[in-house]
């Protein structure tokens, strides 16, 4: 139900207008309206010390439904999105069955409508059954509403298939998002090839195995004129390749996850931060909750990713939210599936970059809103602005509030986070989607 809300004296950051001011904003009939038009019965929220921005847009969410509802459902996943300040989630097609036909897209749209106000946009599979052989019926999927194509979880299997996909999707004006991992080098490994993998006696996923596919896809992008979007870019070398491709004027975009920006390979040792290479391996090591693909990389990769995010080489922050059950991850390292449950903690993790002076808040907000829109297309521009008359997809943030990560309190079914017990500084207070309150964390203070 759409609310009438008057948010007063908040810091308003509008990435599309490029403004950063203190002021009031009215939510009326599901839209953003002029504050002076507030009716007397509007709920008033004191935004003093808080930041109001367009709701975040996640290009990369695993909602697991249909097929793996023990890990997540559209209802629990959108609730976690709301908790994290995301009003739009782009769900990945590695469901069971895969999102490779319009019936599955219709099912997801229906489930999302029933779940609540959070907008769910689907990515379709590149290949039928995600098997890497035949293209899906891309035009039919586009008509059903998919916003792009990906075989995420796996790379687009061959250069030939990628070439065809870029041509077809390009004609439809949609991106091909690729999970860039060269299976001829490694497959499915959730730890970086480096000193930690060496210490733990685990086979590692080298940066080169990501970069070789990024390079392949950029070359094919140039050949076809299509739109190639790099999923969860994780290495310094990949960032360089994208930077060069953009300089050439190619339609190449990229996303990076909160965990690749803020965590490093050492987290697999169970250390919650930096540790010297000669430290003893403890029983906290082989931390399956830090097992993710692409893996958490080195500290120098992390620094290069932050730089690429800052300079615009990387367009968007996307969570790659990958919920799993307790039992999935309560195994020896090799057996555990890849993935981190990110939605609940994303903003707190990212605010760490702001507090450390790595990036300013307006740029961070841009990469969570207008940045993703630049990947999805201009038709979504209204979701990334505070302009009057646009949909009231908004998030109210407390940038300095500290809180402790307690996975048991997550809205997501996936409690698989290596941040368990850590303190984050930066918290989502209120999420409004289409004028409805999707998450209220104001604790009644403004009631």
């Amino acid at each position: 139900m759409s609310e009438t809300l008057l948010i007063k004296s908040a810091r308003l950051i509008d990435p599309v207008a490029g403004t950063d001011t203190v002021g009031d904003l009215l939510v009326l009939d599901g839209k953003i309206a002029k504050a002076s038009a507030a009716p007397s019965d509007a709920r008033v929220i004191d935004g003093t010390g808080l930041v109001l921005t367009p709701g975040f847009i996640d290009l990369h969410t695993h909602l697991r439904e249909p097929g793996q509802e023990d890990k997540e459902s559209i209802k629990s996943g959108t609730a976690a999105g709301a908790r994290g300040g995301f009003t739009t989630l782009c769900c990945m097609p590695n469901t069971v069955p895969a999102i490779d036909n319009s019936t599955v897209v219709d099912f997801i749209k229906q489930q999302a409508l029933e779940a609540g106000p959070i907008r769910v946009l689907a990515f379709g599979a590149v290949s039928r059954g995600r098997e890497g052989k035949e293209l899906t019926d891309m035009e039919e999927l586009a008509r059903a509403g998919v916003v792009g194509f990906t075989d995420d979880g796996s790379p687009v299997a061959t250069g030939h298939l990628m070439q065809s996909a870029l041509l077809y999707a390009g004609q439809l004006g949609l991106p091909i998002m690729d999970h860039c991992e060269d299976y001829s080098i490694v497959k499915g490994l959730g730890i970086n090839e480096g000193w930690v993998s060496d210490r733990l006696g685990l086979a590692g996923y080298p940066s080169a195995a990501e970069e070789s596919i990024v390079a392949r896809d950029i070359a094919l992008c140039e050949l076809t004129g299509g739109h190639f979007h790099v999923a969860h870019l994780s290495t310094a070398g990949s960032a360089d390749l994208v930077r060069q491709a953009k300089a050439k004027g190619l339609r190449v975009t990229a996303e990076v996850t909160p965990h690749h920006l803020t965590l490093s390979e050492e987290w697999v040792l169970g250390t919650h931060g930096h540790v010297e290479p000669d430290a003893v391996v403890t029983t906290a090591a082989y931390e399956t909750r830090a097992k993710v693909s692409p893996p958490l990389r080195s500290l120098s990769d992390q620094a290069a990713l932050i730089e690429a995010l800052r300079d615009g080489t990387i367009d968007a922050i996307a969570t790659d939210h990958a919920p799993h059950t307790y039992g999935d991850k309560a195994t020896p390292f090799d057996e555990a599936p890849n993935g981190i449950s990110v939605l609940d903690t994303a903003f707190g993790m990212l605010m760490g970059l702001v507090h450390a002076g790595e990036i300013d808040l307006p740029t961070l907000v841009q990469r969570l809103t207008a940045g993703p829109v630049s990947v999805l297309g201009e038709r979504f521009i209204e979701l990334a602005t505070l302009a009057e008359g646009t949909p009231a997809d908004l998030v109210l943030l407390a940038p300095d509030e500290e809180w402790q990560v307690d996975p048991k309190a997550f809205a997501s079914k996936g409690r698989n986070t290596p941040l368990d017990g850590d303190t984050l500084r930066g918290r989502v207070k209120l999420t409004i989607a289409g004028g409805e309150i999707a998450y209220d964390g104001l604790d009644g203070l403004n009631a």
Partner: protein, 337 residues
């Protein structure tokens, strides 16, 4: 960017007795010496007519091998039985692992049966750490995990070296072959660093950790270097240790051919002649004679390969004793021998 509590990294002066033996990366020289002393006493029991002492009577030791092995499994079983523990073998075949039960549930089940100690061999690196983290009343001894660690093998290697060489400080040990996939080499590296020995690794570039090849390693002890040319690596070595080459590595693209491997890295008479006179020849077994080691060397005068096996039983007795009874008795020498 996030704050959290740093874990307590155990100092390298961990006091005995330990609850678990997972790897040698946190053992110092004094602790290793104490274990080797204890193992020497255990060797005395091995040489007796009646090979049994009551030290671990009433203790239950589970020997869980999720990967094929003869020597290490029998060695642990014998060690436990000679100390009068009740030893129960669990193998990968026919166990709950094959019925789809997770390792966690299997381990919790065994803990609920009041087992005192689990010896685990697993093809998965880190499996013993996983058990140690999840079990609160059972000790864990790592009998080899994936390509990570094999601490009891490293201790028996150190025992063999000490028996023949004495103090290993400044001595040169060359380890040859597939270091990258070798849990034995990894644990030996830490054990040898603790006793002050220098280690030279020699093998195909596809079988040496990349960080060592690139010269960017900060995580291996400084006493470890790489010399791909075995003729150079072996010069003046006090100990020559050949690792087992798995023949399927050639098919996997890691080796051009077994012929190329043997030509470059087989321990031969000519090569051994470049080592120090009387150098020890070691191999963790099982050997591929004629591949990583020539038959004449494997059965030659410098070969310690069978002694390694004997010392293995003694080391495992010492560790079982220390882990299960150490605190309650006067120390390792308190066994009624």
């Amino acid at each position: 960017m996030t704050t959290g509590t740093m874990p307590t990294v155990e100092a390298k002066t961990a006091t005995m007795p330990r609850r678990h033996v997972l790897d040698l990366d946190d053992f110092n020289k004094a602790e290793i010496e104490t274990i080797l002393d204890s193992a020497e006493a255990m060797r005395g029991v091995l040489g007796r007519d009646i090979k049994k002492v009551p030290a671990l009577r009433g203790k239950v030791v589970l020997v869980m091998f999720l990967e094929a092995s003869t020597r290490t499994r029998v060695s642990f079983e014998q060690a436990g039985k000679m100390l009068s523990a009740d030893v129960i073998n669990i193998s990968g075949s026919g166990s709950s692992a094959e019925k789809g039960e997770s390792l966690l549930n299997t381990a919790l089940t065994l803990q609920a049966m009041h087992a005192d100690l689990i010896v685990i061999r697993s093809p998965q690196s880190g499996a013993p750490y996983f058990l140690a983290r999840n079990l609160d009343s059972v000790s864990v001894i790592n009998a080899g995990d994936g390509t990570h660690a094999h601490p009891t093998q490293a201790l028996l290697d150190l025992m063999t070296m000490r028996r023949h060489i004495g103090d290993m400080a400044g001595k040169k040990v060359v380890i040859i072959g597939d270091v990258l996939h070798s849990r034995v080499a990894r644990s030996d590296i830490y054990g040898l660093a603790a006793v002050g020995a220098n280690v030279v690794l020699s093998g195909p570039p596809t079988m040496i950790p990349l960080e060592l090849l690139r010269g960017t390693s900060e995580h291996f002890p400084d006493s470890v270097t790489v010399e791909p040319n075995l003729d150079k690596a072996i010069e003046d070595a006090d100990v020559v240790m050949a690792l087992r080459i798995q023949k399927e590595r050639a098919a996997g693209g890691l080796l051009p051919s077994m012929r190329e491997y043997t030509r470059r890295w087989q321990v031969t008479d000519a090569r051994l002649a470049r080592a120090k006179p009387g150098a020890l020849v070691m191999h963790p077994g099982p050997m591929n004679e004629g591949i990583e080691i020539s038959s004449s060397i494997a059965h030659g005068p410098g070969s310690q390969i069978e002694e390694q096996v004997t010392n293995g039983v003694a080391i495992r007795m010492a560790l079982l004793y220390q882990t299960l009874a150490g605190a309650a008795h006067a120390g390792p020498m308190g066994v009624e021998l």
